[in-house]
């Protein structure tokens, strides 16, 4: 395996501003919801910012946590697909083949992170909103599942450019849309096969945890825990 793509999200930097959410919509042609569809829970966000409330007023805390497909090494969504529409690619990405998907939604049912979205309808963009659609990303048809791809189109582009120039992709060269937009620079993306990459160093740092790690899914998104320090900074 040449690369093993992974992400680290520093929750001590994250402000919950959701720039990542909007950037993902812009990059990945996410279907637009309507109020009626959203009310039925059919709005799709490949990355969302979960909020966790702790305590009661006045000692109340709110912790934000961006959650996207965790690209698990032992992904529960993969073995349940009857048509192999969701599979593990050689670089460790959990990939969805849209035109193979028959819409059983078993994968969504089996995902403990609730990051898979089903297209209940054909997506629709009122003209001329469709002019914005990214030609690098397929528009998904009604009846198929979709989810975060780690912006695979950006990975491919960097690999192609690096190959043309006869070099390896540099650390930090691949930036998924969410990471690129994040104002607080909370999101790092890179190659776990490179022990010197920023993401490798963050993944092995003391603050790194993985979401629902006890399920044994081996996620490739590492969360650097928010620091709750007792002593003030001098």
């Amino acid at each position: 395996m040449e690369h093993r793509w992974a992400m680290a999200i520093d929750l001590d930097r994250c402000t919950g501003c959701e720039a990542c959410v909007a950037a993902c919509h812009a990059e990945n042609n996410l279907p637009l919801s309507t109020p009626a569809e959203a009310a039925k829970g059919r709005a799709a966000h490949w990355i969302r910012v979960d909020r966790y409330w702790e305590g009661e007023f006045p000692d109340v805390k709110l912790k934000y946590m961006p959650v996207l497909c965790q690209h698990c090494d032992d992904a529960p969504c993969e073995p349940v697909c009857p048509v192999y529409a969701t599979y593990h690619n050689p670089e460790g990405l959990n990939v969805q083949v849209y035109n193979r998907c028959v819409g059983t939604r078993y994968c969504g049912n089996n995902c403990p992170y609730s990051v898979r979205f089903f297209n209940w309808f054909e997506p629709r963009w009122e003209a001329p909103l469709d002019l914005q659609l990214n030609p690098d990303v397929a528009v998904r048809m009604g009846g198929v599942m979709e989810k975060c791809t780690f912006c695979i189109q950006r990975i491919q582009r960097v690999k192609r450019d690096a190959k043309e120039e006869g070099r390896r992709p540099q650390d930090g060269e691949v930036q998924p849309a969410c990471a690129q937009s994040c104002p607080a620079e909370a999101i790092t993306f890179g190659d776990l096969n490179d022990p010197e990459s920023r993401v490798s160093r963050q993944a092995s740092a003391g603050r790194a945890r993985r979401l629902l790690e006890e399920l044994g899914t081996k996620p490739k998104v590492f969360y650097l825990q928010r620091v709750t320090q007792a002593l003030p900074a001098k």
């Binding site: 959701e18 812009a26 910012v49 003209a127 979401l211």
Partner: protein, 722 residues
């Protein structure tokens, strides 16, 4: 007018070194192209990156736009034709710009949906029905300009002072053009009256330190930050700039993690990120700051002008703490921590304006002086000097509106951003001629006699100054896509109008405006290629040195805020606030913003009233119930969100929904909290006081159509899901 003429108007400049950009934006400085790309010249499958200016809010972030081929269907001679055009696929922050630094917020990302909004106007409109009803019919530009010129001539002959120009333009070429146009007509200067303009922050900086623009807070290098009333990570001066600084402040320095204490009467995005939140009774920011000043005065009083030190000296700390609703010991601890920090910083703002907000901001300025934080790394830095006459004056124009005969509206939407009790709707309806330059039919354009749609900011040319800049800088945008519709730049329309009314006038070009900031030896081609010019930030003074200008002795008093409505009849405070998604309402026509879950309530396609748990329990209100908020000046109905961190007795509601007219995604959706406010204005600036209205709450029914992305708060206990 042909496209070629339009291009001539913009005086598009070419650069010798421009070529097709390839690859992603890894080396954008070398790849940016400031040229207009004709639809005939776009190459299938190729991408180009162009510098542009984000028009989403007044922060002034530089962006880069990814341009590729697209296809649209047009109708010509009753036949549908496919047309290849160059269109923008994505916006990113411009890495060369010190404000955005290559990053961009959600509202900035969504500006593309403003450009390609299905409700954008395809050409000029004239009113055909009663004012305010948005009954409008298309007309030609020639006809529209003739009508406008005729009415403008009449108003000018009768009394040039009856011409009123209301603009939302920040400091830059647009504001300078408008000023010059009004001068040519002999009319009074333009008025700016935006909620997101923050005039109080500028006024306080001027009063205390003699600075003409908002102070720059060096958050990245600070160690201990006390935020007071400024939601600097959410709805404040420059959210992307301060979020970038915040990331560095927390985890960008090996071995150092900055600490934030946020004092605010709403649990804002900043309060949620802070290490500690001090819930303040609304409008008591000045009490908190004065008490801290009193506690920190010992041994430091020589930093202040004697009359100011005397004000701090006279503060009773226990009484002040009681007024704020903060435990006095906690307050003493914060003072001690601030005083002991190597790089303390007080970031004060008026995200929710109160009648006494200026006093609070002035007190905060003096507190920073007491701490020795002014002019040193990790402290308050002097803003770049703003050239005179670039910024339209912040003015409460309501009195002038009553006497106005001819009104121009540029980017401003007063029918939405002013309370109904101010009489704005009646006043707009009475204006003889109202001309709006809005690219959409918004709440105010609904009153217009003529709508002469401007280009979208991504199609236009501009030079503008960022809201926060420690060093001289200017953002420059040159057009790189052909206008999608038959719109005209407002500068061009003003030139044509001036010509017809025989007033000597030439618009201020972005180049001319930028010259006020940029040294003469800087090549313009390079500036347009980079998307602006930014001077190296001058190194701040070393620690311990006094600020370059001696502080002024500004009068401030530790006073109680004033509220409209009796406490007996209206027991609750009401705080509308600038929302993450829509800012002051302008983002509501962008579907991505409508479906962006609210950071606290997770609400989509609508905004709830945020109610504290005690009030909700007392009135039997649960999340999702329909409630009515009644003020002395009106009422609104909206779904309830029982907010775990709302202060008892304080209702909050984000601004953004409740447009009467603003396209298919926003019209008739939700409620506008500004609408029910009392007409209370801050006395030094005339700004609308957002937090001065008391309300009462009524439960109407069990279901109100609250749509949430994550309906239930995911954890109620400690954060131990792993």
């Amino acid at each position: 007018m042909s496209l070629l003429d339009r291009r001539d108007f913009f005086q598009i400049l070419t650069t010798g070194g421009a070529g097709l950009a390839t690859g992603a934006c890894g080396r954008p400085g070398e790849q940016l192209i400031p040229l207009l790309v004709s639809d005939r010249e776009i190459v299938s499958g190729e991408e180009q990156w162009h510098p542009a200016a984000c028009g989403g809010c007044p922060a002034g972030c530089g962006v880069i736009a990814r341009l590729m081929e697209g296809e649209r269907v047009i109708e010509r001679d009753q036949e549908k034709l496919r047309q290849r055009i160059a269109c923008i696929k994505k916006l990113e922050g411009n890495p060369l710009d010190p404000v955005s630094g290559g990053r961009l917020c959600a509202l900035g990302q969504a500006q593309l949906q403003g450009l390609y909004n299905p409700d954008r106007l395809a050409g000029p409109l004239r009113r055909t029905g009663p004012k305010g009803r948005a009954e409008l019919a298309p007309m030609s530009w020639e006809e529209a300009l003739l009508v406008a010129a005729e009415k403008l001539t009449r108003a000018r002959q009768k009394d040039p002072a009856s011409i009123l120009f209301v603009t939302a333009a920040g400091p830059g070429s647009r504001a300078m053009t408008i000023a010059r146009f009004l001068q040519a007509l002999g009319a009074p200067p333009a008025a700016s009256f935006e909620i997101a303009d923050f005039p109080l922050e500028r006024r306080a900086a001027e009063l205390v330190l003699g600075w003409s623009a908002a102070p720059v807070y060096d958050l990245a290098e600070a160690r201990y930050v006390l935020g007071v009333g400024a939601d600097f990570l959410g709805g404040w001066l420059s959210p992307v700039y301060y979020a970038r600084q915040y990331g560095h402040f927390r985890q960008g320095r090996p071995g150092i993690r900055g600490r934030v204490v946020q004092a605010e009467s709403r649990f804002s995005l900043t309060a949620a990120s802070a290490d500690e939140w001090l819930p303040l009774q609304p409008g008591t920011e000045v009490w908190l700051l004065a008490a801290l000043g009193r506690l920190l005065l010992e041994g430091r009083s020589q930093a202040l002008p004697p009359p100011v030190a005397a004000v701090f000296q006279g503060v009773d700390v226990d009484r002040a703490a009681q007024a704020c609703g903060v435990d006095a010991n906690r307050l003493r601890r914060v003072a001690q921590e601030l005083g002991a920090s190597e790089a303390p910083l007080v970031i004060a703002g008026a995200s929710a304006v109160h009648t006494n907000s200026l006093d609070a901001l002035v007190a905060a300025g003096y507190l920073n002086l007491l701490l020795g934080s002014v002019g040193r790394p990790g402290g308050v830095l002097a803003p770049a000097v703003e050239p005179p006459a670039m910024r339209p004056a912040f003015t409460n124009f309501l009195e002038r509106l009553e006497r106005a005969q001819f009104v121009f509206l540029d980017g401003a939407n007063p029918a939405y951003t002013l309370p109904a009790s101010s009489g704005i709707h009646e006043k707009l309806a009475k204006v003889e001629t109202l001309v709006s330059f809005s690219p959409y039919v918004d709440d105010s354009a609904a009153y217009a006699d003529l709508v002469l749609p401007d280009h979208h900011p991504l199609e236009g040319a501009a030079a503008l100054l960022p809201a926060v800049a420690a060093a001289p800088s200017v953002l420059v945008a040159t057009p790189f896509v052909e206008p999608l519709h038959d719109t005209r730049a407002t500068e061009q329309v003003l030139a044509e109008l001036a010509k017809q009314v025989a007033a000597p006038f030439q618009p201020v070009t972005p180049r001319a405006a930028a010259q006020a900031v940029v040294p003469p030896d800087q090549p313009w081609e390079e500036i347009t290629r980079r998307g602006g010019w930014w001077a190296d930030p001058s190194p701040p003074s070393p620690p311990g040195r006094r600020p370059p200008l001696p502080p002024r002795a500004a009068a401030f008093e530790v006073s109680r805020p004033l509220f409209a409505g009796s406490e007996a009849e209206y027991p609750l405070h009401f705080q509308p606030y600038l929302s993450l998604q829509y800012l002051d309402g302008r983002g509501a026509n962008l579907p991505w913003m409508q479906e962006l879950p609210d950071p606290a309530s997770s609400a989509m396609w609508g905004l709830p009233v945020e109610i504290d748990t005690k009030t909700a329990a007392r009135l039997g209100i649960r999340t999702g119930d329909l409630v009515r908020v009644v003020s002395p000046h009106g009422s609104l109905e909206a779904p309830a969100y029982v907010h775990p961190a709302a202060m008892p007795g304080v209702l909050s509601m984000a601004i953004g929904e409740g447009h009467r007219h603003y396209g298919r995604y926003a019209s008739g959706r939700g409620a506008n909290p500004i609408r029910i406010l009392a007409p209370v204005w801050e006395k030094s600036t005339g700004a609308l006081v957002l937090g001065a209205t008391r309300v009462r709450l009524e439960r109407l029914g069990p279901r109100a159509g609250l749509i949430q992305f994550s309906p239930n708060d995911r954890e109620h206990g400690p954060w131990a899901h792993r």
